[in-house]
Amino acid sequence: MRKMGMTVTVAGPPTLIPPACQEMGVKVSHRLEEAIAHADVIMMLRLQHERMTGGFIPSLREYSRVWGLGLDRLKHCRPDVLIMHPGPVNRGVEISPEVADSPYSVILDQVTNGVAVRMAVLYLLAGGKAA
């Protein structure tokens, strides 16, 4: 993302932030409202099961309340914001169904393109020729 010229902020509870990621040139935020306020694109990530049970967060309920992207939080965003998520989505955990299915969301396009990109990568790695 940095290579493509993006300005990147990662946000989440400190226990889930990758170690030393500031050294990769990204900003770290521990407040969701602050992180999304001026963003052109918000990419949510699935909370993996081992993260839920590994002592990184006290409870799903609290995580969802503090870090979940619901309609109320969208009020802080730019009117032309794009919402992304690589899937699969834990609906109601990191993102509410209302936001995931909102007009701002390009999640289904992203997932469709993701399949095509994976197919292309596997094809090239398996020895296929670029057209």
Partner: protein, 424 residues
């Protein structure tokens, strides 16, 4: 049986000697060191002109895997690797199968070493039964049988109360407790050092604090009990600082560092080579600089290889799942001669001190000196000998080295144990 080593540069830090000299050996002991020695009835003469003659090198941290894991290494193959690497004595960790937590295992190791070994073998006894960290091993009997130290190396004794009792109980034996300082909760299942590289590689890391908190605890317990605690394979800048402070306050704490923690950083993990997976993990450049500084100023007392042989099958597969550890006996001295001495970062007498009298004093072992009457354990080095690390040629049964293909100048060329040449 007598032996005269003529014309070498004799480097004997214990006696403050660094000069061209001859060494005369008879009956397994040093008879005399001096210029122009003549002995008409000498059995064998070695011309050491242009070479370095030093007291036999000692590695106080090896895993010879016998009994129980003979497919990784045996006392026969391990001692041959040691001899080839210039070491005349080694101390073996207790994490065999069964664990060396009772005297019958110690007796077995010593009997094997007597019959099949080519260098001196000193067993290290377990601190707790089965290395489980719950109840003390029979340390008095182990000491009586010949254990020179106690350690649960491979595991950290997490229960501070048990560890305190072990330190107290060992006081009468005069043997150190060797700490594998790694908080198992903080280390979690981190496969490498936690930092930028682990994030970029997507591997679970373990923080420097997993080591430092245990080094701090063990220094405090040494202070409480008056015991001698030796920190195995120190790897972080913070641990070096803690040991330095502990020593300055008069606590009986010593430390060792491995060649791989002196020479490699976590950058070496970038190609996911399982031979770069060790415990503690390879750290950052800042840590590497700190351990070298500690080794130079004497905060770190000696170099030990933590020779940890594994079968190929245990080092294949995903980085996160494969075994921890690298072999070191056959690469340590060449690497240190080239990367530290030839590179001008350490002088030769200091290196010899950290590899011979340093470790000998630490475990109260004979050797480490060419004084009259000392055991005739001698290593001859050729500082101009060119080498390439070729794991296929190791005497060790294992091949797991991160240094394959490395080249340099300077290597051991002859190892003498008790007046007998065990390799040449």
């Amino acid at each position: 049986m007598s032996l005269l080593i003529k014309g070498g540069r004799v480097v004997d830090p214990a006696n403050g000697l660094d000069a061209v000299s001859d060494v005369l050996v008879a009956g397994g002991s040093i008879v005399k060191v001096g210029r122009g020695l003549r002995a008409p009835d000498v059995t064998e003469v070695v011309d050491a002109t242009g070479k370095v003659v030093c007291p036999g090198l000692i590695d106080i941290h090896v895993h010879f895997r016998e009994p129980g894991y003979e497919y990784k290494e045996t006392i026969a193959t391990g001692t041959r690797a040691a001899a080839a690497g210039g070491f005349t004595a080694v101390a073996c960790m207790a994490n065999t199968l069964p664990v060396n937590d009772n005297r019958s295992v110690t007796d077995y190791v010593l009997a094997k070493a007597r019959v099949e070994g080519v260098v001196r073998v000193y067993p290290i006894g377990a601190v707790t039964r089965g290395l489980k960290g719950q109840e003390l091993a029979e340390m008095a009997e182990l000491a009586e049988a010949g254990c020179v130290a106690f350690s649960d190396d491979g595991n950290c004794v997490m229960n501070a109360e048990i560890y305190r009792r072990a330190m107290e109980y060992a006081l009468p034996f005069g043997t150190p407790i060797i700490s594998h300082a790694e908080d198992e909760h903080l280390a979690h299942s981190g496969a490498m050092h936690e930092g930028l590289v682990s994030t970029e590689l997507g591997l679970l890391g373990q923080p420097w604090a997993a080591e430092d908190v245990m080094v701090a605890r063990d220094i405090l317990l040494a202070e409480l009990t008056g015991a001698h605690v030796h920190i195995a394979h120190i790897s972080t800048a913070g641990s070096v600082r803690l040991v330095r402070e502990g020593k300055a306050r008069g606590v009986r704490v010593t430390a060792e560092v491995t060649p791989h923690h002196l020479l490699l950083t976590d950058e070496a993990v970038r190609d996911y080579d399982p031979n770069t997976k060790v415990a503690p993990p390879l750290r950052t450049k800042r840590d590497v600089e700190a351990v070298l500084e500690g080794l130079l100023d004497g905060t770190i007392d000696c170099i030990a290889t933590d020779h940890a042989p594994h079968a190929l099958s245990e080092k294949e597969g995903a980085f996160g799942e494969c075994a921890n550890g690298v072999v070191g006996l056959e690469t340590a001295v060449p690497l240190l001669l080239d990367r530290l001495v030839r590179a001008g970062r350490m002088d030769l007498p200091t290196l010899v001190q950290r590899l011979s009298p340093g470790p000998a004093r630490l475990l109260n072992l004979p050797g480490g000196s060419l004084a009259q009457g000392a055991p005739a354990d001698i290593t001859v080095l050729d500082l101009e000998r060119a080498w390439t690390v070729e794991p296929g040629k190791f005497r060790s049964r294992a091949r797991n080295t991160p240094f394959a293909g490395f080249t340099g100048l300077g290597a051991p060329v002859m190892t003498i144990v008790g007046g007998t040449v065990v390799t040449a």
